[in-house]
Subunit: 501 residues, 2 copies
Amino acid sequence: MSESRIQNAALRGKIVSADEAAAFIHPGDNVGVSGFTGSGHPKEVPQALARRIAAATGRGESFRVGVWTGASTAPELDGVLFGVNGGSMRLPYQSDPECRKRINSGDAWYIDAHLSHVAQNAAWGHYGKLDVALIEVVGILEDGRLVPSTSVGNNPTWLELADRVILEVNSGLNAKLEGMHDIYTVALPPHRQAIPIARADDRIGDPYLRVDLDKVVAVVETDCPDRDTKFSEPDENSRRIAGHILEFLQYEVKKGRIPANLLPLQSGVGNVANAVMAGLNDGPYENLTAYTEVLQDGMLDMIRSGKLVYASSTAVSLSKEALADFNANLDIYRKRIILRPQEISNHPEIARRLGVISMNGMLEADIYGNVNSTHVLGSKMMNGIGGSGDFARNAYLSIFMTPSLAKNGALSCVVPMVSHVDHTEHDVQVLVTEHGLADLRGLAPRQRAKLVIEKCADPKFRPALADYLARAEKGANGQQTPHLLGEAYDWHLRALRGESM
Amino acid sequence: MSESRIQNAALRGKIVSADEAAAFIHPGDNVGVSGFTGSGHPKEVPQALARRIAAATGRGESFRVGVWTGASTAPELDGVLFGVNGGSMRLPYQSDPECRKRINSGDAWYIDAHLSHVAQNAAWGHYGKLDVALIEVVGILEDGRLVPSTSVGNNPTWLELADRVILEVNSGLNAKLEGMHDIYTVALPPHRQAIPIARADDRIGDPYLRVDLDKVVAVVETDCPDRDTKFSEPDENSRRIAGHILEFLQYEVKKGRIPANLLPLQSGVGNVANAVMAGLNDGPYENLTAYTEVLQDGMLDMIRSGKLVYASSTAVSLSKEALADFNANLDIYRKRIILRPQEISNHPEIARRLGVISMNGMLEADIYGNVNSTHVLGSKMMNGIGGSGDFARNAYLSIFMTPSLAKNGALSCVVPMVSHVDHTEHDVQVLVTEHGLADLRGLAPRQRAKLVIEKCADPKFRPALADYLARAEKGANGQQTPHLLGEAYDWHLRALRGESM
């Protein structure tokens, strides 16, 4: 495939095997890797690197690297590297079982960060020196410009900052992705200007990544699909949550606050998000748009049906079935989808300007509207905050949603006090479970508490929550946010003992 | 004074006494009042309203209103209204003893909100209907345009939304304020455009407020100064905190991350902020700028000395002494100060574009870098989050500072777990006390914890904090953010019992 996918002669001269490329990565390096939600990550060099690391470890040598990505990747990257304990540090988001295990065992440091903050923090040097960029592309033009893969993530930043660049050119992904991307770089202060996006479909950059060709130390040819992103049909709870949200959006339109085609949608991943998209696809809305970080099956369905006229994202992450459709109709989808760097897809400036409708999952919410998106029972990392903060703080509507119960009903996802706060009471407008939707806008904390208990908590936990609130209102040192600090975490402590909350 | 200050004939015809004006405010009304940090609030109508409320209450009638402002006001507004329990609801920030008392007794609802969010939330109707706007101005032009007072706050929004408008024209404030303001209105989505500010001194609007003259029901002439904002000389702790910050800024310049004239400064209020400004005024920097929400004595000193070439703010809040200088040299200060609506002074879009250096006080921080700005021991409201979140999340540098001890050394301001979270670990980059500065950028939670304990905690609390961390690392269910939920609030519980933490 070399000639058609790798048109630059100099880079063709640098084609090596994955093992040879991995030899350019040294112990202690920080490696900026492409990849966002299982799409666009390098497929072979990380596995070769994991083999090198395992071999070194076998010889009693220490070989670990810092792993910087866009967001979550896949078993052939996080899985293999953290499987051999080869990652000393990870940022800014992950969802891999092996990686999660190392984080929670204390083997790996994890910097859980707002996805829109990562590029600038790296450029300022807050994460240290970036030694290597390891980036998947789908092609290289004659002049050396790069055709990005199925995600853009932080790739422009990694390519800019790294001393050495390794490119994986993946012929297993469609070359027709060319033209779908919009690469735009934000200057650092004091040289920043307004980002000229006023609609989700505004193109402001150009479709290619650029790299100093002299920095490229290796080019590896691959032929692998992205990680399959599992799509499961929405279950009953998800459909109910979606139903509450759809009803609420109709109310907002009726109140005249948002136009009949709503405002640009931002949707997290998973079963509930799928259900909301399916509901919108069957609903009364036309000419919808999206300004989001990852485009999944649900939004692709909506583009195909014509309901969604445009989607801006930083990644396309699809199931096997959706991918087949995507590839077959890429000439159409390329006109409807725009893939941006995650600094832009998640930029607070744009999220607020557009007034996105932000819908994200959570682990638990408390009665006052604080949300925990990341930590199981206060200490254990699940995945990370991802882009939820970028969007929620700046959204027209910040919606957080979850089924009301977890662990077969033993745990309540509505608690007296969350065990970790990722989104404060100031940033959470709407909470939704299968039981109902609590519109917290314009309410003081105790007003919120009554509504959250009544609308969102499972009936079996409502009396205990109401009892906590009532006793806190009697016993606390102030009535703004009454808490009984001596028992605020009794629910979590019961869960830690394996009991029902 | 009527003719010179109130040039519009129709509005001259509406001049009434404060008592007559207050009669336009009815029980149950929501009143949008001018005022930000004790400047630019109406001086007489609120007192007349408080008298009406007291009289009604004396007759056994209920008379309460919702009080919406820019930020904190003064005794002659919050003090008198909440003193007679006349405020049913208050937003978005306060610092008045009477108002605080009603909030914490449960008499008044309090919506503690990001200051940049208020105008749009009000426009969307999230706070209900705005019945009356009660706005202080320093003059009215012949065509009815209004010369704003010493703060702009949410005045453009209140004037737009209210059914009835009452103007206080204060000849006690300098008419030469005319021209200092820059009024710019942000459209609601989907019609929003980029806000064209690329430097702190960019003027993008015009100097006057506009109002539908038919809505003006009363004009009241007043002659009163703003609230004196007390300025106390920095104490030893404040000077030490300032010293750590100044040293750190020099480090940032030396690293080449920020220019020699730094980036625009944002500073909260109080003793520590004063000390930082005094330090900057004596320091090596030239051509500094500020993009902040309130300009106080410290920044005025810096403008006078020539160190600060430009300051953007929404309010000027000065001590009696500084005010005399301000008034005497207003022709100069008008060229150096620009007063904007708080939606613009605090806008995330601009804070991030400019890369502000954000310095704000706090009540307590925990070892992992979460910050409580608002709630004493978890339940009791102190003042509110104000603009700290607008700036911190979007800043180049988000610095939170406090002396390490409170209550004569009984309380530690560094605790195992904060009792309320206003700024999450994702948004707090630097913590400072008199003992030192913890640069948390690019660190994972347990790395932060070691640094916060070592640099920021008072030595007498360090062993107990280190012991908590060590036991949590052994006992928690995950190593990302080890906590012992059963004792995370033991420190606060001891404080609630009147013991040392």
